[in-house]
């Protein structure tokens, strides 16, 4: 995730940024006057930190003890069932994606994506100090993913009520929302109906009846990735060059997938699309 690319594109000519780079990354001499003894400076700081944290924990525990719900029973699910706050982002994703995707594949992507961050970020600037200007792309990219996660958690905590329906703060949380106000439709059926395509399958592969609409959704899905990979390659060639072939492709795969998540959510919200792509084995 480089942003020198965007830096050199936008503001300073290349020479300057190179000189700056060398200046910034040159080994700094650390003399004894720049360091302090850990005892007592750091050790006492840590002690104070721990005392404060203990005090806060004790206070919270006394004010709000751990809850205990009714005895577990397999026949009645509490309504609504909310996981602890840190899993509500995941629970909210499950509304928009099938369990295999929201529950397994997307979390795995998030974890692998996080692990890969240091290996796809070739920018030597911004190491060990706060900066936004020297690494705009990586800050914006990471910030976007983080914000998505937090907004999903926020929605799960405060805006979901009975039957996992959406409740604004001014809605009565004790009244069930009407069901089935909106019908969700697969994208290929929307295409079939609006373009007047035939519903008859072109080919049948076992359980898989491939229709024209289905092929178009495949094209749209693969096209989304294709465009995502090519556009930066053509228009931000410097960006590509700095990353190199492997880094660029790995990074872009996760980046495009991340952008796909809110896109699918919006397709669901604004166009009532249930699945973008349907096969007998998986749907999303």
């Amino acid at each position: 995730m480089s942003d020198q690319a965007s830096d050199s594109l936008s503001s300073s000519p290349k020479k300057n940024s190179l000189a700056e780079l060398i200046k910034k990354t040159a080994l700094k001499k650390i003399g004894p006057e720049d360091t302090v003894l850990v005892w007592p400076n750091l050790v006492y700081l840590e002690l104070i930190c721990m005392m404060v944290a203990t005090a806060i924990l004790l206070f919270l525990s006394l004010v709000s003890p751990a809850p205990l719900e009714e005895l577990a029973s397999a026949d009645t699910t509490p309504n609504p069932t909310k996981a602890p706050w840190y899993f509500l982002g995941l629970q909210e994703l499950l509304v928009y994606f099938d369990p295999w995707l929201a529950g397994m594949v997307l979390p795995t992507f998030i974890i692998i994506g996080l692990i890969l961050i240091p290996y796809v970020d070739p920018n030597p600037l911004g190491k060990g100090y706060y900066t936004f200007k020297e690494r705009k792309f990586s800050m914006l990219g990471f910030g976007f993913g983080l914000s998505l996660w937090w907004i999903l958690i926020l929605i799960g905590v405060f805006f979901r009520g009975l039957d996992w329906s959406w409740y604004w703060p001014w809605d009565d949380p004790h009244v069930h929302m009407p069901a089935g106000a909106v019908k969700l439709i697969d994208l290929q059926i929307i295409l079939q109906n609006t373009l007047g395509l035939s519903e008859a399958p072109l080919v049948t592969l076992g359980r898989y009846a491939v229709t024209i609409g289905n092929l178009i959704t495949w094209a749209l899905f693969l096209g989304f990735y294709a465009v995502g990979f090519t556009v930066p390659f053509i228009f931000f060639r410097d960006f590509y060059r700095r990353l190199g072939f492997v880094r660029y492709n790995v990074m872009m795969f996760f980046f495009i997938s991340m952008m796909g998540v809110p896109m699918k959510i919006f397709l669901r919200l604004l166009a009532d699309v249930k699945y973008v792509l349907v096969t007998p084995w998986f749907k999303f």
Partner: protein
Amino acid sequence: MLKLLEQIRGIVNKTQVFKSIFRHGYPDTDGNRALVMFSNVILHLHPVRVQRGALKIKFTWCLGGLTFFFFIMLAITGVVLMFYYVPDTRRAYNDIRDLGTVIYFGSLFRAVHRWSAHAMVFSVWMHMTRVFMTGSYKPPREFNWVVGVILLVTTLVLSWTGYLLPWDQLALWAVTVGSKMAEATPFIGASGPFGPELGRNSGNDMAFALLGGTVVGQSALLRFYVLHCLALPLITALFIAVHFWRIRKDGFSGPL
């Protein structure tokens, strides 16, 4: 009065017992302050000297240290809670209720355990955000970021396994949902993509291995208990050790 205390300290510091435990004098001279970091196993997590910038609260926000502190807190309160808990579906719920009603400070220990868990998840996220913001994952510290991500995962799995133990409604349904997700894993879950094609069914898939059965019942409770109280804390502690070791070897990334 102060003088008297100092005299007592002087005598204590010279006794054979004190010298056998601590290999340094009272850390009021630079020499002893360095020696205390060398010779004390816990303080040895630190270097002798740090850059001035590493002390800035505004730089680290103490988040990594706090996460570790919450982990210690969880270990201590967790051991205390284990004295009164039996992982049996017929007993577990009542054991937890007893903690709140008939055991002195039982409710407090449980509350501290729970709040520490929330706090630990939060501080792990915040620590990660901070490390990203300061670019502290950049070479040569890439691998320590990876270890950090693993610690994030174990923290989340620890909390997930933890909340099955009270055997209340939240416990049962959170784990039911989680095990259904495992069942939906591609290739190794019975309802996941290509799972049935590869011969997975409810008797041999991922969720079955996780729960030790087809429903969230006794064997699932025992499995989660073992994972939560033994296996995962050990794994987490191991990775924390690696995490700290790498910080010591690679140094702080902080400013001067």
